[in-house]
């Protein structure tokens, strides 16, 4: 599954966009101008982009509370997402959803979700739709290690196996469910092994390595499109920041926090493509500059965009009431 120069540039740009999106709101959050809760995806970009590289708008994803990266990777517009986080009328969801509820059905995104584990059955339902329609499209359920202990996931995985649904359960194991370590919260030896016991192929991969993610997910996608049923991937990932913005992370050691960037997926990507001669540092730097400049504009626009009119408060409760 060789990657062309153009693909590599696109994937790098997408990962850089996610990083810049999160770093921008990380900075802005300290000003108090972004309302609500924020859960940042920094450090995990290779997963969203490596998975969604294999998906079209007709394939579905379900995301979670740490969803900005998934939504961007699935094709949602960063400018409109920034507007949404600022609660503005022009936001992707008219400011009704905010950080934890960004969805774009037209792009195959069932949305971020504030309820841990809820995406399991929702994605399985999207996969059931594909099966009933006889399409080759698939669904991916992005979830964290925290969600793997939810009954939602167990029930969804069992039925996905029973009905051979075309779904990839993609676990980003960043080591923490909120503040609690997965080593404490997991009764089994490993997340992937427990998933395998449901009766589907399950692999553990390095989610910090874009190329490994891309390759392994490619195989899983082929498996699903061929009608062979669900597939489980546990990807080791790194959560740079706390569970939410403002989390002082007293449960993590100073050493761990200091060494997080050793396995940074963007740096790793750069190292690989430059040593392979696929891209140059100058080409990657140009992407960095381009993305950073674009986000300055997105931010300015979001900060000055119009608020929703209060007369529209009860729009969209029902389609017809």
């Amino acid at each position: 599954m060789a990657i062309t120069k153009e693909q590599a540039l696109n994937y790098y740009r997408k990962m850089r966009q996610i990083r810049e999106f999160e770093e921008t709101i990380h900075r802005q959050n300290t000003t108090g101008e972004i309302p609500g809760f924020l859960h940042l995806y920094c450090g995990e970009e290779a997963n969203a982009v490596g998975v969604c590289a294999h998906l079209s708008d007709e394939d579905y994803i379900a995301s979670n509370h740490r969803g900005h990266g998934h939504c961007l990777a699935k094709g949602s517009d960063p400018r409109l997402m920034m507007m949404e986080l600022y609660g503005r009328e022009e936001g992707l969801c008219r400011g009704r959803g905010g950080s934890m509820h960004i969805a774009e059905l037209d792009k195959g995104s069932l949305g971020a979700n504030g309820i841990v584990g809820a995406g399991g059955p929702l994605a399985a339902g999207a996969a059931l739709t594909q099966k009933l329609k006889g399409s080759k499209n698939i669904a991916v359920c992005f979830h964290g290690d925290g969600a793997t202990n939810e009954g939602y996931m167990f029930e969804a995985m069992n039925m996905a196996v029973m009905w051979k649904l075309p779904i990839i359960f993609y676990c980003e194991n960043n080591g923490y469910g909120e503040f609690t370590g997965i080593e404490y919260a997991l009764g089994a030896d490993s997340i992937a092994e427990r998933a395998a016991a449901f009766g589907m192929p399950a692999k553990k991969i390095n989610g910090n390595d874009f190329f490994e993610v891309y390759r392994e997910v490619g195989e899983a996608v082929e498996h699903c499109r061929a009608g062979q049923g669900p597939y489980y991937i546990e990807a080791e990932a790194i959560r740079y920041y706390g569970h939410y913005e403002g989390d002082s992370q007293l449960y993590r050691t100073k050493e761990e926090l200091k060494n997080l960037e050793d396995n940074d997926c963007l740096l790793g990507f750069r190292k690989k493509v430059t040593s392979d001669g696929l891209l140059t540092d100058a080409e990657l730097d140009a992407v960095d500059t381009d993305v950073i400049e674009a986000f300055k504009v997105y931010l300015d626009e979001a900060r000055s965009a119009a608020w929703p009119a209060t007369e529209t408060l009860c729009d969209h409760v029902y389609i017809n009431y």
Partner: protein
């Protein structure tokens, strides 16, 4: 037009929509019955009530999907399918089991359209059984329509007879909003719930109350099984010269507020009968509506007839005492009329 039972009417409504629209599918525990069993008769049961008997043979097991006993999982799967272009009818065997899948019906389905800026459409219909009277005790007898009514984004239907059940169910399945369709278990074979039901499909719009009877003195609001109990009480009251408007709201969300208010403005007296909650329930909602908008019309305080604030008991005499009965409704009506019930009985 043939007289049909409540059970038969619901089965016909489901069948009509399955035939009309291939995006409609059924999903729930035992709805075909027999899946995976040694005989492999996919139509062994057709649900605990036999309502979907024969459906698996006629429409295939892809569209009549037996699930494991996993309400959270299959309700969420139905929600995901609904959000991606299908029109599932999920059967939650007893509404009491909502405890096992409430997140889907509280945080997911009702909120998608709103949270996602009006772009998501989730046409999920949930059929579920409500009601006491079968000694099914505290975990299989509740009527939880008030809980769903309080959730913006959900529509809630509580049919009382066969004709309404078919028309409202077809409307529910064709509706683009998520709908809770709540069937009282005593109605399936209740003779007074049977009705002339057309063979062909038809819809009844939501938010339009049905005047079961018109009268001058008291407005009685009742739905589901209670509509029948209220009609029995109205006959007794008529013997005493008291005539009642008996109004079946049919849907609690949307609610036909106008019909209720107009009736109370005309009679000046209100009795609300409901098998749901003794606190924070549908009856209280209607009472608050009238108190806010028709207070000046009231000639006497509003009376509510509900079960006590107590779980549904098992033992028959206790359960009969728990259920709102005709005598209580008569007493409430006499009370709002300012008639001393004891004196009235002697006379």
């Amino acid at each position: 037009m043939a007289e049909k039972s409540f059970r038969q009417a619901i089965s016909e409504g489901l069948r009509a929509e399955m035939q009309r629209d291939d995006r409609v599918f059924l999903i729930g525990t035992d709805i075909s019955g027999g899946a995976g069993c040694p005989g492999q008769d996919v139509d062994a049961a057709g649900g605990v009530l036999g309502i979907t008997k024969g459906f698996a043979s006629d429409f295939g097991v892809d569209r009549v999907i037996d699930t494991p006993i996993a309400e959270m999982g299959y309700m969420g799967i139905a929600a995901g399918a609904a959000a991606t272009g299908m029109r599932p009818v999920a059967e939650l065997m007893f509404n009491d089991f909502v405890g096992s899948c409430f997140d889907v019906l509280l945080n997911q389905v009702p909120k998608f359209h709103y949270m996602f800026g009006g772009k998501a459409v989730t046409p999920l219909t949930v059929r579920t059984m409500i009601g006491a009277g079968a000694s099914a005790a505290a975990q299989h007898s509740q009527s939880l329509h008030h809980i769903f009514t309080s959730i913006p984004g959900l529509k809630v239907v509580v049919p009382s007879n066969a004709y309404d059940a078919k028309g409202l169910l077809i409307q529910a399945i064709q509706d683009d909003d998520p709908v809770m369709f709540m069937e009282h278990k005593a109605l399936y074979d209740l003779p007074s719930a049977a009705a002339e039901v057309p063979d062909e499909a038809y819809t009844i719009p939501f938010g339009e109350a049905n005047f079961l009877q018109e009268g001058d003195d008291v407005t009685i609001i009742a739905m589901g099984l209670m509509a029948h109990v209220a009609m029995g009480a109205a006959v007794e009251l008529a013997k005493q010269g008291i005539t009642c408007d008996v109004i079946d709201p049919r849907t609690t969300s949307p609610l036909d507020e106008e019909s209720i208010l107009e009736s109370v403005e005309s009679t000046g007296r209100l009795v609300v009968v409901d098998e749901g909650a003794a606190r924070c329930g549908f009856a209280h909602d209607v009472a608050a509506l009238v108190a806010q908008h028709a207070f000046a019309s009231l000639k006497s305080p509003i009376k509510l007839v509900t079960p006590p604030h107590c779980p549904t008991p098992f033992s028959s005499p206790l359960e009969q005492a728990w259920l709102p009965g005709g005598e209580q409704i008569v007493a409430a009506a006499l009370d709002v009329m300012g008639i001393d019930a004891a004196a009235s009985a002697v006379a």
